[in-house]
Symmetry: C2
Subunit: 260 residues, 2 copies
DNA sequence: CAGTGGTCTAGACCACTGC
DNA sequence: CAGTGGTCTAGACCACTGT
């Protein structure tokens, strides 16, 4: 006999909807460890049987948990308690020049330090007119080189990034190649004379679009960070805008603020 | 005749589920402005009639939109396109000393600059042992003074904040009063000799807990930022940790990163 | 193949809203 | 009161998974 559901029943006299009560009990079982990460919950049929309710009621309960990010349903297999991914803490000095010395791009270097296997795929490079949001930040209406790619950690996609650089800066340079070489595009920018002075980051959070959820293999109930980074060179010119979508359960962003 | 649904139909030959197709069409209508903010979508009954589907199918479609934060359902009234709240952009120098000169706390000063009516309520001050997360950041195991409050903009709650200060710093000072006086607690800390040197912020995002959703009157499908700020004085001591929960649709966080 | 979740139908009763 | 969304039942067929 499964011990998980033993003694659990709904209170039909309660104001709380039956499917919410069922969700409450399953949530409690997950949070107190009665069902551990990666394990299967009872099937819909078993829950219907146990609680004596219709399938829709059980499905509504399970959907609540899925929306909360506690479970994932796998078609034909069952409903499983989600494993929490490892969290990357992004340091506020992650683009400091000293971290580029070893010739590695920021993502690769950080991941190896974390002991996780980094991966980059879906690399695409093209040229197009600057979208308004980008043109505004680059302060440049001309065409831009667009570099997009997806980053994964231990095989799990965690982030997509799209860089926009003015074509008059990047065209015909290694930056416009799929592989920009050691140290990434920031190293190339500095070689081209655009010594980097500072970055600004604009951070927002929202639920992913359907396309984002697909590309990042996101679980329901997990928001994304949208991080728009603008890189300025020592002359004060914006030389790159990077539009990043990150699975929010995989990141903590760290920043330093001055008090003066 | 309503023009919204004219010509819209589902493709039963498509692989895409009917409720997703209906959601797609409603989403498109919202995004291209065919139904504007605050307006009502067709009722479930109208959608059933128009598309010739069962109520559950319509409800699944509407639930998708609600999860995406595009709509809100009001019991007995209808389903409405959500109004987007005004967005506050938090500058990276928002805690700079020069912004305290006018004797206003950060939130009040920023809001007035934005032309919005700020409000602070649910102010509570108490003393307790430091929770582990806080003790770690304060590097101090002793008791802490806890100040919690809720901030609203034009009557809409947008943020709750809980500050923790070591009792040996704050006890018996105006910081432990509900009203800490002009310039807020950072001004008081500096008067007490803790000249502030820098702040760190740790930013994460997730869906709100039920309690957070209630206090912040959050719409479904909107995540929260959790921002943990630690304030350090010139001697390097952590003198305050502020744990903030912000409705993510009301904020964009701006930061500056050095390149060196 | 049996068991799983994904989608859909066709009803029902209820609670809330506004007239 | 009529109209709205909230909850629930009792079925059905399908697609996917593992044996």
């Amino acid at each position: 006999m499964g011990t998980l559901l033993d003694g659990l029943a709904v209170d039909t006299a309660s104001d709380r909807a039956v499917f919410r009560q069922i969700a409450d009990q399953l949530r409690a079982a997950i949070q107190d460890g009665s069902v551990s990460e990666g394990n299967r919950l009872p099937s819909e049929a078993q829950l219907m049987e146990h609680y004596g309710v219709a399938r829709m009621t059980v499905r509504n309960a399970l959907q609540l948990l899925e929306m909360e990010g506690l479970t994932r349903a796998e078609h034909g297999r069952g409903v499983y308690v989600r494993r929490r991914p490892p969290v990357r803490r992004l340091a506020s000095d992650r683009f400091a020049r000293r971290h580029r010395k070893e010739g590695k791009a920021a993502f690769i270097a950080e991941s190896e330090q974390l002991g996780a296997q980094p991966d980059v795929d879906m690399i695409q490079v093209s040229e197009m007119p600057a979208p308004p949001e980008i043109a505004e930040r680059l302060n440049c209406a001309g065409p831009v080189i667009v570099r997009s790619r997806r980053y994964s950690l231990n095989g799990t996609p965690v982030e997509t990034a799209t860089s926009y650089l003015p074509a008059d800066v990047a065209k015909g340079t290694p930056i416009a190649d799929p592989n920009p070489g050691p140290g990434g595009i920031y190293a190339r920018l500095e070689e081209l004379g655009h010594t980097l002075e500072r970055f600004t980051e604009e951070v927002s959070a929202r639920m992913p679009t359907e396309a984002e959820a697909r590309v990042l293999a996101m679980m329901p109930g997990v928001p994304v960070f949208r991080l728009i980074r603008t890189a300025y060179d020592v002359e004060g010119r914006a030389v790159e805008v990077c539009d990043t979508i990150m699975s929010a359960d995989a990141y903590v962003l760290n920043y330093e603020l001055p008090a003066h």
